[in-house]
């Protein structure tokens, strides 16, 4: 947020994007880490590298252990279940569809956020090295396009985290299971 505050606008100088409603609106200082832009960048890159390493280890584990099969959203297997889960939450149907490790909607959400995380890393690299990685940057519609994607991804991850927290607060007992791994069935 410290970084966004340094130029709280989207689009190149002299040709700002018309569709972005928050041109010139800086994020609240309470969300700005690091004291100033240089400090904010240090935090940003430090955490970003840890995020990348964490992601690589996680994906390697999921692939190596075969865990991906019960975690990943597979449209054919989970599409209908996810749809029915939404209907259940909206009280349109009385009983939830059968679920095993995750239900269909959870698979959709968790797989989706992994996709967003990958887009965050790629769009971040595109902003970070727009000349050395210019093919990647072009893929995101150039430097300013990649900045917009990066900010949108941040919004999506923040939304995901907020929803996740609200759901955990609604079902506090699940939290114990999430941390201990729950019972093995």
């Amino acid at each position: 947020m410290q970084i966004l505050a340094a130029y709280p606008a989207l689009g190149p100088r002299g040709a700002l994007y018309r569709w972005y409603p928050f041109q010139g609106v800086a994020p609240p200082p309470a969300l700005q880490l690091g004291g100033w832009l240089a400090g904010g960048r240090h935090w940003h890159f430090a955490i970003a590298w840890l995020f990348v390493m964490n992601g690589v280890v996680y994906l390697a584990y999921c692939w190596g252990s075969g865990e991906w099969y019960r975690r990943l959203f597979l449209p054919r297997r989970d599409g209908r279940a996810a749809f029915r889960q939404v209907a259940f939450y909206l009280h349109l149907i009385k009983s939830p569809p059968p679920s095993d490790f995750y239900d269909g909607l959870q698979r959709l959400a968790y797989s989706g956020v992994i996709g967003v995380a990958a887009v965050m890393v790629l769009s971040g690299l595109a902003i970070y090295e727009p000349v050395q990685l210019h093919l990647l940057t072009t893929l995101f519609g150039g430097y300013d396009g990649a900045r917009a994607v990066h900010l949108a991804g941040l919004g999506m991850i923040a939304l995901f985290a907020a929803l996740h927290l609200v759901l955990v607060l609604c079902h506090p007992r699940k939290l114990v299971k999430m941390i201990t791994g729950g019972q093995h069935e």
């Binding site: 190149p12 002299g14 100033w36 240089a38 960048r41 430090a46 090295e129 727009p130 050395q132």
Partner: protein, 236 residues
């Protein structure tokens, strides 16, 4: 216009003062392990950028239609007033070179010129496009016969001694030039007259305006923003 531009510089100065005090504050309350962690990650980050850098990779040349209106390009300098070149301005080139030189603007303009229109990336997050004309740094290095031991290049200015130091590879990139013209006219005082450093492969704060001297060095000598905490390599 000039008052608006001066206020831009005022903002950057104010931001600097704020930043410096915030930096001091952070230095005071950030525990040693935290700052050691940030430093370690920063050095990894710099190493990654240097590893990724390729001397053959060129930034794309952009069409004239991509050019940013000149009035929309921010103007930064650190002095209280728009820096004015001293009368009889010259550029001294020295350090680890076999033929140290003092060049006038006319002498620079006699050298082979290149023209480039590339995207500018500021550390603040904005981008802009202008076209630049000048002499390739690598040609200048050949002229003064820079020694192989000169692994770094330092650029100094008459803007309250604003300076920056570069790695040799980036300084010798074919798109790193000493620019004396912008968008087809001589450089204005706002954009670093009479001669500024311009490059497609670094962030804006590395491209020293208002040049006064270039020194070929055995070791890096930091820089105005770099010494306050900004990334030294700052490649794009």
């Amino acid at each position: 216009m000039s008052s608006a531009r001066a206020s831009v510089a005022g903002v950057s100065r104010r931001r600097f003062i704020l930043g410096a005090s915030a930096g001091a504050l952070l230095g005071g309350c950030q525990s040693r392990p935290v700052s050691a962690f940030l430093r370690a990650m920063q050095s990894w980050n710099g190493g990654f950028q240097a590893w990724l850098y390729s001397a053959n990779r060129l930034a794309p040349q952009l069409p004239a239609t991509a050019q940013t209106p000149e009035a929309a390009i921010p103007v930064y300098y650190i002095s209280d007033f728009l820096p004015q070149p001293p009368p009889n301005w010259t550029l001294s080139i020295g350090g680890l070179v076999r033929r140290p030189m003092v060049l006038t603007l006319a002498q620079l303009q006699e050298m082979t010129a290149v023209e480039m229109r590339v995207q500018h990336h500021c550390v603040e997050g904005w981008s802009a496009v202008a076209s630049w004309r000048g002499v390739r740094m690598v040609d200048l290095a050949r002229l003064v016969d820079a020694q192989p031991s000169a692994r770094y290049v330092e650029f100094r200015s008459f803007d309250s001694n604003y300076w920056s130091s570069w790695d040799r590879a980036s300084a010798f990139h074919p798109q790193t030039i000493l620019a004396y013209a912008m968008n087809g006219h001589p450089l204005s005082a706002e954009h670093g007259a009479p001669v500024r450093l311009y490059s497609a492969v670094k962030l804006g704060y590395k491209m020293v305006k208002y040049l006064s001297a270039i020194n070929f060095m055995p070791a890096p000598s930091g820089g105005y923003w770099e010494d306050q905490g900004y990334d030294w390599f700052a490649g794009v």
